[in-house]
């Protein structure tokens, strides 16, 4: 799947606009950001930026006004940097409502809303999707995924019918932390889904064996969750010097190297790191720019991470 670049001028202008035009961060002031790379969604050809935004844990801040302001700031920076796909789930506590509040405030022009259905029973799924849509404050979702395959036999036909009726653009399934891969493969091989969401990083690479090749073969987009093993990976690598190859692909942090490893796999459509920090959003978005590692360097990154983490 080819990587393509949007307009650099548009990206820079929008990031400056997001900073309020008052003061550029050191990161922005140091050098203009390179364009955020995109990948086509295999089933439609629609371009999607390779860095998305997850919301697991980070956006579940309840009614805390400060937490909600920070989450809105994270989303503002994400959209300003060219990001589009925001992912959430009814399983994530108040995250959907927090996203909805930010969507209402920011009115992003190019939001790609990705949510999930996570309940037993098809009828309850319909009600849950409608409740989620109201929390997100969107007219319709771009993507709905069956969360962790829960009651997928009942939910998938309903979601596919919604897609046929134009009430939904894409349908997918999710898993995390290597669960139920055999069943994931079965569904990928037999159902007309657009996306599969899986856990994948430089240490957890089981999906390279069967799921990622199958996704390419079946033209299914791949969304990657838990790219940093919920922070454990970046924490384990903290303080370890970046190897020489990092500079070759424009990485100044381990987080960027870990993300570049993921999104450079040809089957991956985008990764969805979650964060509550504006600085980390900027850092993550930069990982979706510039030179990507080739296959030989990807192997070396995996070896180095395995050795150091």
């Amino acid at each position: 799947m080819p990587l393509t670049s949007p307009s650099r001028r548009h990206l820079l202008a929008s990031m400056i606009a997001a900073s309020g035009g008052l003061a550029l961060s050191p990161l922005l002031a140091a050098a203009p950001p390179a364009p955020l790379l995109t990948r086509p969604i295999p089933s439609s050809g629609e371009q999607l930026p390779v860095i998305g935004l997850g919301s697991w844990i980070t956006f579940n801040v309840g009614r805390d006004p400060q937490g909600r302001r920070e989450s809105t700031d994270v989303m503002r920076q994400f959209f300003a940097g060219g990001g589009r796909l925001v992912d959430s789930s009814p399983m994530y506590g108040s995250a959907q409502d927090v996203i909805g509040e930010a969507v209402q405030t920011l009115k992003p022009a190019r939001l790609f809303s990705a949510d999930k259905v996570w309940v037993s029973g098809g009828a309850r799924g319909v009600a849950q999707v409608e409740a989620s849509r109201k929390l997100w404050r969107v007219a319709r979702f771009d993507l709905l995924q069956v969360h962790n395959l829960l009651s997928w036999e009942e939910h998938l036909p309903i979601l596919l019918a919604m897609k046929r009726e134009g009430r939904l653009r894409y349908v997918g399934i999710t898993t995390s932390e290597g669960r139920r891969h055999a069943e994931i493969e079965k569904i990928m091989a037999s159902q007309p889904i657009d996306f599969v969401q899986i856990s994948y990083n430089a240490l957890d690479r089981d999906v390279e064996q069967r799921i990622l090749p199958l996704a390419r073969e079946r033209k299914i987009g791949v969304i990657v969750n838990r790219p940093f093993r919920q922070g454990d990976l970046t924490q384990a690598l903290a303080g370890k010097p970046l190897p020489g190859w990092a500079a070759d692909i424009g990485c100044t942090t381990w987080a960027q190297a870990l993300l570049k490893f993921i999104v450079s796999h040809p089957a991956v459509t985008c990764a969805i790191p979650a964060t509550s920090s504006v600085a980390h959003v900027r850092e993550n978005l930069l990982a979706g720019t510039g030179r990507m590692p080739d296959e030989a360097l990807r192997k070396r990154i995996a070896q180095d991470v395995e050795r150091l983490a």
Partner: protein, 227 residues
């Protein structure tokens, strides 16, 4: 749900330690100075264990029932449910424990117990020392102090102390010990340094209860022996 076995403990951690303690901080700020009332109530509980008088024990059981009810409503249902979808179930369990404590206060056959140092120590730890843990944590503040009768953990520890002191039957232990495991697991996933404390206290108090389990000595009848 047949897929529960595919989930791990970390899958159920829905929030960060920052959100968790910020929630406690805003809750504390909203109900201050209720903490002073809670402290007085806590002293009643400590006094009841230390003095071993039946009427004091009844008062302490009712104080604990009120504390569990308040935590069920004001904390679990009104606050914690914002970030934890399991909190309404916790609220239900806390309400049941409040009813059990009312029953403990009035059940027939209650007898005053001899003072129990471990029970007294647990109650003292919960009521006087536990709030200080907020200052021991990285970036912890007084505003995040966890106070008996206001939030679950110190309330549960004090209850363990009372149940141990009074050698309460097993049914009264079920919910407090379960909470110690749930809260300990949550704090462990949040990487809080004192995550081990609640499960350890539950284990120690349960063990002491099993060892000391024997028919209570009726202090009233000892005071007025029949010849």
């Amino acid at each position: 749900m047949s897929e529960w076995w595919t989930y791990s403990l970390s899958d159920f951690l829905m929030f960060s330690s920052r959100s968790y303690y910020r929630l406690i901080e805003s809750y504390n700020a909203a109900i201050w100075p209720a903490h002073l009332l809670a402290l007085v109530a806590g002293l009643v509980v400590i006094g009841a264990i230390a003095r071993s008088r039946q009427h004091l024990q009844r008062s302490a059981a009712l104080v604990l029932a009120a504390a569990w009810s308040w935590v069920a409503w004001a904390y679990q249902l009104e606050r914690y449910a914002e970030i934890n979808t399991a909190a309404p179930y916790f609220a239900g369990a806390f309400a049941v424990q409040a009813l059990l404590l009312c029953w403990l206060a009035y059940r027939p056959g209650n007898a005053a117990q001899a003072p129990q140092p471990l029970g007294l120590g647990l109650a003292g730890l919960a009521i006087l020392a536990y709030p200080l843990l907020a200052l021991a944590r990285d970036n912890g503040t007084w505003g995040q102090a966890e106070v008996f009768g206001i939030v679950p953990d110190p309330t549960v520890i004090a209850t363990l102390g009372v149940l141990l002191a009074w050698r309460a039957p097993a049914i009264f232990w079920l919910i407090p010990v379960s909470w110690c495991l749930v809260s300990g697991a949550t704090l462990m996933e949040l990487k809080i340094s004192h995550a081990w404390l609640l499960p350890a206290l539950a284990f120690i108090s349960s063990l002491a209860w099993l060892i000391k389990r024997k028919p209570p000595r009726d202090l009233n009848s000892t005071a007025n022996p029949r010849s």
